[in-house]
Amino acid sequence: MEALKATGLSKRYVWSGGSNQALKEVTLSVPTGSILGLIGRNGAGKTTFLRIASTSLLPTDGSMQILGHDVVDDSVAVRERIAVIPQESRPFYWMNPRELIYYFLTMRGHTKADARTRADEALAELGLTEYAGTLVSRLSGGLRRRAMVAMVMASDAEMVFLDEPTTGLDPLARRSVWEAIRKAAKANRTIFLTTHYLDEADALSNRIAILEKGKLLAEGPREAITAKVKHPYRVVVSDGFSRSELERYGEPIWLENRWLLLTGEREAREISKMALERGAKLSLAPVSLEDIFMQIVGKDISVDEAEADEGA
């Protein structure tokens, strides 16, 4: 079954004196048990999409089903099956991680005993056992974020929405969050996450969706998206090549002391042969998600919408 199915989904924010089309006819399906990474620049519409899916925002047009239930007409059934960490959400500072999880679960309907067991498991899974009794007000930002992840992961939600779950986490903490997410997906839960870290989306998710200015530009398994781009290879060569020479194969970019070139398979082979003959240093790899994003969106993910529009 499809865990999420959006059809022609649009959202226009309207306020007195203005409006903003945040989503434009997005059609997307996510199979059960997958980890979908929704990526896009600031203001692309990720949070808007996620909030409609998690039933806290109404769409303007189109429809969306979560686990077979309509988010507008059958929101009660949807809400019984999901959990969310909103972007920039924070835990209560007067509670400790164990209490946060325990009360969140009993509030959702878990029995006390079940809530206790699940709390301990989630704490251990996210490396929080040692902080289980420490008040949130004394925890670092990354530990607070992990406590939030533990809250929703400990629940029995079949589908979990995470809006930038790892922002502000150190690499080790990020990995513990990744582990928890992977484990949840193995138990056939569906994870829907947004992120600005493309390496994270790449490492974690088995499906990628790219939003740009409210439009869905690409969606599917990573390999399918890679296959779609014009230049599936990333070539980096040191000196020994001139710009004009490389321009025959693509658009070379000068990075301080070497050239970066995204190109096709045949071209990549030719360049490596030339590099070998000249004794120039070369590295050849499939494109990273960042390169794919560049090619599909036409802009780097770190350029936000406002800046890009000013530049245009």
């Binding site: 998690s54 509030m107 959702r108």
Partner: protein
């Protein structure tokens, strides 16, 4: 998972009431400050004779403050912590969340209620069944205050706005209307205006039950007060039901 009403409410009361209290007991004193300031002023200006009115007013104000705290906390949880969004995306229904929140605000007003109830026995002259009358008036006012707080919270965009709303509410609903004084102190032509505030009706009941009104509380008057108060509670409840936004548009 399905919602289990009582445990859900209990969890919310614990999160928002008992736990913060346990970690910061000063919260207990906080709700006592306003009613006691008024009591003190009344005593200084009006002497011992004014104390019963200060006590009746204290009961009303303490209950009403549940609404003001509620709009503050709910706005904070919605806009800053994004906790409300986590509740929306869960089996917990809006009514359960609001009930839990309103009960947890009640937890904070327990000391105030206790003190003023005790004072009401010391300084009031309860009429027959007066205790029941007071309880009914306060429960109806509590429903009104809760619906008001919830509705306001869904429209406020930031906690700073709740700081602005709180004093306005308190002046419009407790300082100006005859909550701390009998309604006949108001110049007769202006008196009908006082009846626009539900607190006027509640205070009339409380004052009457404590034997304070210049004219004793008759059964007819009591029923009228109660009915109007109930109407206020129902209307506000319906507004909350229809207009308050659990899911954003």
């Amino acid at each position: 998972m399905k919602e289990r009403k009582l445990p859900s409410v209990w969890a919310i009361v614990s999160m928002n009431g008992f736990l913060p209290l346990r970690r910061q007991p000063l919260f207990l004193i906080n709700t006592l400050t306003s009613p006691f300031s008024f009591l003190f002023l009344l005593f200084i200006v009006g002497g011992a004779a004014a104390i019963p009115y200060g006590v009746a007013g204290g009961l009303v104000l303490t209950i009403l403050s549940i609404g003001t705290s509620l709009q503050g906390d709910m706005t904070h949880y919605k806009t800053d912590l994004k906790f409300q969004e986590m509740v929306v995306a869960s089996p917990v229904k809006a009514g359960t969340y609001v009930t839990g929140m309103a009960l947890s605000e009640f937890v904070f007003s327990i000391p105030g209620m206790t003190v003023f109830v005790v004072l009401s026995f010391v300084y009031g002259h309860y009429i027959f069944l007066g205790g029941l009358v007071v309880a009914a008036a306060l429960v109806l006012l509590w429903i009104f205050a809760t619906a008001l707080g919830f509705t306001l919270a869904t429209y406020l965009a930031d906690v700073r706005e709740t700081f602005m709303i709180a004093p306005i509410l308190s002046i419009a609903l407790t300082v100006v209307p005859p909550v701390y004084y009998p309604v006949d102190r108001i110049w007769a032509p202006l008196r009908p205006l006082a009846y626009l505030s539900p607190t006027t009706w509640a205070a009339n009941l409380v004052q009457g039950a404590l034997g304070l009104s210049p004219t004793p509380l008759t059964l007819a008057q009591g029923l009228l007060d109660g009915a109007v108060l109930l109407l206020f509670a129902i209307v506000l409840f319906l507004i909350a039901w229809k207009k308050a936004q659990w899911r954003e548009r």
